[in-house]
């Protein structure tokens, strides 16, 4: 109780110091060797300094890999989505063979195909399920999963809308949940409510949920096994949680791009109200999800606010206010949001520079890094942005040269992490090693 009170009285900088200090404390795990422990601490320290706009020993590097390990291990995404032994084997092979790196991405972003099938998930296509078996990534299926006249339902009672309207649409296996009555009731016991749970179709939906739950736990065990091994070998994780901007949540998974773009004109008030509601729920669920990961960083992939998707005025009116609210809620809990701006963000740099100094990190995809360094350099740590095309088709020398150039522009003064503009799934591992060479050769402070 005493500690909690103290927490609420701290400034965000004080809270963040606590969180980072915790991250920088030797974790309570058994490292494979004293050398691994030493390297782990060096690596975490390197990242922490860069994130906090300080100068580390050298520029740290986040390897831009997503499903790369599957292909490196002569397997493919489809196989590792269904076969958790293969998932473990390939990721461990990459972990053991790649060599020196500053961090390691576990296989947590490879969802279980069996789990997705068990719930009949409609929002994604994946290899062998809607797209060809040899595709290296999954494909988001945008749709108008929430209708324009359903804004009020979402605003009034979000979980009611979610469980009884939205889930039945995006999960084939939960279609029958549209038949359950609301949980809220004015009666101390609304006995008729139970009838729905005796229905065979609702029972089947709950069975599917339980099956998917069990499958998901098997998958999680496999993911954790690999991630823990990486930590024991001295490679830190740099993702404590995942979150999104409210506008993207509406645009990606509820209204679809077209729907949300029309809503800016046709029902701006509803859109604002819904984003406020989603912001508050996003803050709660994100903070709950990172509970005890110990990593004080939240990754936020950004979509619909990129250059070309909307005007600067629209960005300021619709995208930025609730996005900023979510960001600041994390900042105020001592957590650093890592904002991954897909596409380019050249026209947003002035707007986003209003955030408090050192409060966030920006990871850019196609943004002009010289411009970004100029405008944001003393405000936020920058991450990026070796082009995916170069990583996939260039030579190691070309990659290294590009990295040298980036380091020259972005590294001075600290607050820079070398990485890709996006992640690659396939390609020459020497192109990734070239990035590590570049930071060691050109990135030493």
């Amino acid at each position: 109780m005493n500690v909690e009170k103290k927490w609420s009285e701290m400034t965000w900088e004080e809270k963040r110091r606590e969180k980072f200090n915790k991250w920088l404390t030797v974790p309570d795990i058994k490292f494979v060797s004293p050398e691994a422990e030493k390297l782990y601490m060096e690596r975490v320290t390197r990242f922490a300094r860069a994130f906090l706009l300080e100068k580390p020993d050298r520029v740290p590097c986040i390897l831009p890999v997503s499903n790369f390990a599957a292909y490196y291990g002569s397997s493919d995404l489809r196989t590792v989505m269904y076969d958790y032994d293969e998932l473990k084997r390939t990721w461990r092979k990459f972990l053991h063979e790649f060599g020196d790196s500053d961090m390691f991405f576990g296989p947590g972003m490879v969802p279980s195909g069996k789990m997705l099938e068990a719930v009949d998930y409609k929002l994604y296509k994946w290899p062998g399920h809607g797209i060809s078996g040899d595709t290296t990534s999954y494909q988001c299926v945008e749709g108008e999963y929430m209708k324009a006249n359903e804004y009020d339902a979402l605003i009034k009672d979000p979980s009611n809308f979610w469980l009884r309207t939205y889930l039945p649409r995006v999960f084939g296996a939960f279609e029958a949940l549209r038949n359950i009555p609301p949980f809220t009731t004015i009666e101390e016991i609304a006995i008729m409510s139970f009838v729905a749970y005796g229905r065979p179709d609702v029972r089947a939906a709950l069975e599917a949920l339980l099956e998917a739950g069990k499958e998901s736990v098997k998958w999680m065990m496999a993911v954790m096994e690999v991630s823990q091994e990486a930590t024991r070998m001295g490679f830190p994780a740099i993702m404590g949680g995942l979150s999104k901007a409210p506008f993207d949540t509406l645009g990606d998974t509820l209204r679809g791009t077209q729907g949300v773009m029309m809503d800016m004109f046709q029902r701006p008030e509803k859109l604002h109200q819904a984003m406020e509601k989603i912001a508050s729920l996003t803050i709660d669920s994100t903070l709950a999800s990172i509970g005890d990961s110990g990593v004080p960083l939240i990754m936020m992939p950004l979509h619909k606010g990129a250059d070309g998707f909307m005007s600067t005025k629209q960005y300021e009116t619709f995208y930025w206010p609730t996005f900023k609210k979510v960001i600041m809620a994390f900042v105020n809990e001592g957590i650093m949001p890592v904002l991954f701006a897909e596409g380019s963000y050249n026209t947003r740099l002035d707007i986003i520079s209003e955030l408090p100094r050192g409060s966030v990190t920006w990871w850019f995809d196609q943004t002009d890094m010289a411009k970004a360094k100029k405008i944001l350099g003393d405000k936020a740590c920058l991450v990026g942005n070796v082009p995916t095309s170069l990583l996939m088709t260039g030579t190691p020398q070309e990659v290294k040269e590009h990295c040298r150039n980036l380091i020259e522009i972005c590294a001075p003064g600290g607050g820079y992490i070398l990485s890709g503009g996006a992640n690659i799934d396939k390609g020459d591992p020497d192109n990734l090693r070239a990035m590590m060479e570049a930071v060691k050769e050109y990135g030493v402070y």
Binding site: S159, T184, E188, I189, F194, L206, S216, S289
Partner: protein, 449 residues
Amino acid sequence: MDTAEKKWSEMTWEEKREERFKKWLNPPVNFSGEDAAKLYKERVNRFIKAIKLEEPDDRVPVILPAGNIPAYLAGGNLKTAMYDYDELRRAWIKFLIEFGPDMDTFIGPGLVLPGRVLETIDFKLEKWPGHGLADDIETYQFVEKEYIKAEEYDALIKDPSDFWLRKFLPRAAGAFKAFEKLPQLTAFIGIPVFYVGAFADPEVQAALKALVDAGIETMKWTEAVNDVNRQSLEAGLPSFWGGMSGAPFDMIGDMLRGTNAIMMDMFQRPDKLNEAMERLVPIAIDEAVAGANASGCPIIVMPLHKGTGGFMSNKQYETFYWPTFKKILLGLVNEGLVPMPFAEGNYEPRLEIIKNMPRSAVLWWFEHMDMSKAKKELGGVSCIAGNIPVTTLCTGTPEDVKEQCRRLIEDCAPGGGYILTGGATMDRGNPNNLRAVMDAAKEYGMYKK
């Protein structure tokens, strides 16, 4: 569909109510004979006229104040009716056969809760005969408690269903305790991998199994209840229980915070209390509309508790109780429904306040009330119902009851807008006291044409 909906939204509340009355007058049922069909319409029309503050064609309509009495008249009791659905059906059918020809409406056995379901979910909010109460008790006992802490108002305000699922249900029913462990289900992230994993937890699985078991058991019970209700309709007896609603102050005071805590909240956190009550307004309206749509009967029963005289001052009533309660009343009216607040206790101090309603929109049922005063204050605004004392019904002679009814009819019936009934319902006693109520209506309640 679209054009029909549009038309609905453009209607006045009176037009909507006429539509609902039409539906009430023409239930989807095969009447047992022409007589039954004719009687059904007569009975419903009697109520409709009273509600609209008109004189019915023949006489004052009656709601027999019969609670669980069918169980006892059939030689059983509440406990046997709660646990043996055949017995439940037999008892209520027996009552239907014996009193049916002489009633204006029939209250089915839907308020007799299935004991096995309550046990399956380990329900904490009620005690019932054989479960916390002696076997021969003829009613339930509500268990009031501070189920929700003061600082949990915010969760209710933010996301009511989430609050119910993860905070209230786990405390209201032991079998659902594990729902506390569920994560927030509105994960706006994309792939629901992580929270689906929460459903692998054995305790969560057991909770869902209890939910399904409760569902299967409730279906059996529902079969018996529906059977009785169908037979009653076929015999020409309309339902007068279309759906349920209540006042937000009671929802919070009864179920969530308890009397003691909500009384403190009026002083210590009035804004939170008001905000939470506002959130419950649309929820209560939606629930009542869904109930009425399913039942075909537009009467919404609203038992009222904490706003009664002596529980709070008129100023507190006007500040805390009335505003959101009024919103629900008007919301229901605007859906073409007839809210029937059942004011337990003494509502005399509130008459001045509650009369601020559109004419004929609300039907007030009073327990303790000087009905001549109510007629004077509300007579031109609302149909009133009541209020033969339960004491007379349970302990008096048929003559006492009849005499009491005569006086009530004399005070309240003139000009229409009155329904004769009890101040509460009786569970046990002399069946002739119920017959005396009908006799009185026929003898003293005729409208001269």
